[in-house]
């Protein structure tokens, strides 16, 4: 009974302090709002309009048509026309363009022999006939851009001769579930819930205990009968509500602006998010018992935040990482939440489908809270 009323006392004290800290209160709303709008529009993994230079040695109607065809894919955009390969290399070096399209003077002959035109199939062993039509010189340092241009490698050329476009049967049929239009926002917006919650939840709690020490309140608190577990629980409850509010803002606005579905699993989403908030808050509390001042607690927050963004599968596929990196990623609550939130919102998954992540998150929450409570000593030595 005393325990409950003490937790309630700490909760209402935190709430009163939070309410009066206008800046922090504003950030609770503004961080998800601004970042959702920013990233929702900004992050796009479908690469378009890469600036390229063209070096056309052939200067024929055919070469101009070919350039137009390449531009029509919308993958690249011709921003410069240069006369030599050397100039093109310089343009790449100075980052004015990311690639150069080099058309040789024997373009017409090459096209005539190219299988991509679809004028019958020449013998593939004949080296003369299997020469490519033209060359791309690419700034390959960015693998995503290189990949996009490499995808142009076997572009069909039948349109050059006003023939119907590629009628060939693909080797495999690919059915795209959950995001058939391949819109990046569908994947980014739910993931953003995980990133923003990681940031705000850990940030709030990692400074929670430190702040009390810095302002001198701790010396008084440890002289009272309050137990460390009561202090920890009382301190995280207000932020649970804040976390749920932020999730609602991101998914609600994501639905309105980017047409991201809520999915039918609202209950699962609620529980999953609650677990993630709990895990992040308890991690923050642990950091708070390690940090000696608020600057240190901020540094630790960033230390957790970066891998949560880069390794969790938010930006790059989890499966693409080396196995060791995958193990490391498993430690961060954000990795598990990334799977959960995308599962519930996009794939109609249930808590039972993702029981591994659910269990892991529960364990993390309990362990974190325990470690924080044990680490927090009501002593000064």
């Amino acid at each position: 009974m005393r325990s409950l009323s003490r937790i309630a006392a700490i909760f209402s004290k935190e709430l009163a302090q939070l309410r009066r800290d206008r800046m922090t209160f504003g950030m609770v709303i503004m961080i998800p709002l601004i970042q959702l709008i920013l990233f929702g529009y900004a992050i796009n993994t479908n690469i378009r309009d890469i600036p390229v230079a063209v070096v056309d040695h052939s200067q024929t109607g055919l070469s101009r048509t070919l350039i137009q065809m390449v531009e029509a894919t919308r993958v690249v955009k011709v921003t410069e026309r240069l006369s030599s390969v050397q100039e093109a290399e310089d343009a790449i070096k100075s980052a004015r363009v990311r690639a150069a399209f080099i058309l040789p003077d024997d373009l017409a002959q090459r096209i005539a022999r190219s299988p991509a035109v679809g004028l019958g199939t020449p013998a593939s062993t004949d080296e003369e006939t299997s020469r490519p039509v033209a060359q791309w010189v690419v700034d390959g340092s960015d693998t995503m851009i290189a990949g996009a241009i490499k995808a142009l490698r076997s572009m069909p050329l039948s349109e050059l001769f006003r023939q119907p476009p590629n009628r060939s049967t693909p080797t495999f049929e690919v059915a795209l579930f959950f995001n058939p239009e391949q819109r990046t926002a569908i994947n980014i917006v739910p993931g953003l819930v995980g990133i923003i919650l990681t940031m705000t939840m850990i940030m709030f709690t990692s400074s929670a205990i430190v702040r009390e020490s810095e302002r001198g309140n701790m010396e008084m608190l440890i002289n009272t009968p309050v137990r460390s577990m009561e202090l920890m629980i009382g301190k995280i409850i207000p932020y649970i509500f804040i976390g749920l509010l932020q999730m609602a803002i991101i998914l609600g606005l994501g639905h309105v602006l980017f047409n991201v579905p809520f999915g039918d699993r609202l209950f699962d989403l609620f529980i999953g998010t609650l677990l993630f908030i709990g895990a992040s808050l308890s991690l923050g509390l642990v950091l708070s018992t390690i940090a000696k001042n608020q600057l240190q607690s901020m540094q630790m927050t960033v230390f957790v935040l970066l891998p949560s963004i880069l390794l969790s599968g938010f930006m790059f596929p989890y499966e693409g990482m080396p196995v060791i990196a995958q193990y490391i990623a498993e430690v961060f609550p954000a990795t598990h939440y990334m799977r959960m939130v995308r599962g519930f919102v996009l794939r109609d998954a249930t808590l039972a489908d993702l029981h591994y992540d659910v269990l892991w998150m529960c364990g993390f929450f309990v362990l974190g809270l325990l470690v924080a409570a044990l680490r927090f000593k009501k002593r000064l030595d």
Binding site: S5, A9, A16, R215, N217, M218, M220, N223, T224
Partner: protein, 312 residues
């Protein structure tokens, strides 16, 4: 002395606290009886606060044993916390909460039951003139007001024993005098108080004091007894060249200390000198003096003889 032996609220034996190689408290023995104000007097860094923190269980003694209100500390520190109040050296309540919110928060932390809580909060607000300030943010109050709030929260749960760590270092003399009246009211109500201070006038108000220096207890007892048993005569000299006289007297045999107080030089002459006034008058250095007379010792004299340069 009555036949009834006074009840002991604090008993500490051989208390030592080491921070790495530094002995902040070095072999402290204490016996503090119920119903009195006990002062720790000493310069900054003498171990007053460390000693007090060991008594409340905030610090674990490196050596020695502590028993407070019959509880062994730090083992039973958590039980003890319901029975003691603590006022920290710097204001440690929440500046962004109002007076009433601070009091309500602390009353819930101490687990006062609902009806009693309201009554106690109203009581302490009334007693420490905080009722009119109840919606004021604690961070926006004056030193004296903050101190009243700190005392009010420290006694909310009616502790048997109150620890005050340099309680009046941030308040004006008027508030300080008022504060001490309130402490005596508390003692009258049965509370025992332990207070640290480096103000002589404050120490003089204590029932008993312990003079601490470098973690060691140099003397203890009531201020009056300490003055009696000081082991030095106090002589005051008036004259035009006090700075010169002081310089010459210091380091002379039989002289423990000399300090100027306005137009007078206060000289501590060792006990073994039978006639301190005559002793000083004979010295050629005091030729210019217009007046040499023996006066009553005060606590500062006791402090000087017990510590630092005066101690030999």
């Amino acid at each position: 002395m009555s036949a009834k032996t006074p009840e002991i609220v604090i008993r500490a034996e051989g208390l030592v606290k080491k921070f790495k190689d530094f002995r902040a408290v070095d072999g402290l023995d204490l016996t503090i009886e119920r119903g009195m104000i006990y002062g720790f007097l000493g310069p900054n860094g003498c171990g007053k606060t460390t000693a007090m923190r060991m008594l409340t269980g905030l610090l674990t003694p490196t050596e020695g044993s502590v028993e407070v209100l019959g509880l062994s500390v730090p083992k039973d520190a958590e039980t003890l916390k319901y029975k003691i109040g603590y006022m920290t050296q710097t204001f440690s309540l929440y500046g962004d909460l109002t007076v009433l919110e601070n009091l309500n928060f602390m009353s819930k932390i101490y687990g006062l039951p609902g009806a009693k809580r309201k009554q106690r909060v109203a009581e302490v607000m009334d007693r420490y003139s905080l009722t009119d300030l109840k919606d004021r943010f604690a961070g926006k109050m004056s030193g004296g007001q903050r101190q009243r709030l700190a005392l009010a929260t420290a006694v909310l749960h009616e502790p048997d024993l109150l620890f005050l760590d340099e309680p009046t270092s941030a308040v004006d003399p008027e508030s300080r005098r008022h504060f001490w009246e309130q402490l005596f009211d508390l003692v009258d109500g049965g509370t025992s108080i332990v207070v640290t201070t480096h103000f002589m006038d404050e120490a003089e108000r204590c029932h008993k004091i312990a003079i601490l220096e470098a973690g060691k207890k140099r003397a203890d007892g009531s201020p009056k007894d300490l003055m009696k048993a000081m082991g030095a005569h106090v002589v005051e000299i008036e004259g035009p060249t006090l700075r010169d006289i002081r310089r010459h007297l210091l380091g002379m045999d039989g002289i423990m200390a000399a300090a100027q107080l306005g137009a007078r030089l206060r000289v501590l002459v060792k006990d073994e000198v039978p006639d301190p006034v005559g002793f000083l008058k004979e010295k050629p250095e005091t030729n210019g003096a217009t007046l040499i007379e023996q006066v009553r010792p005060n606590l500062e004299d006791v402090f000087v003889t017990a510590t630092g340069e005066g101690r030999q």
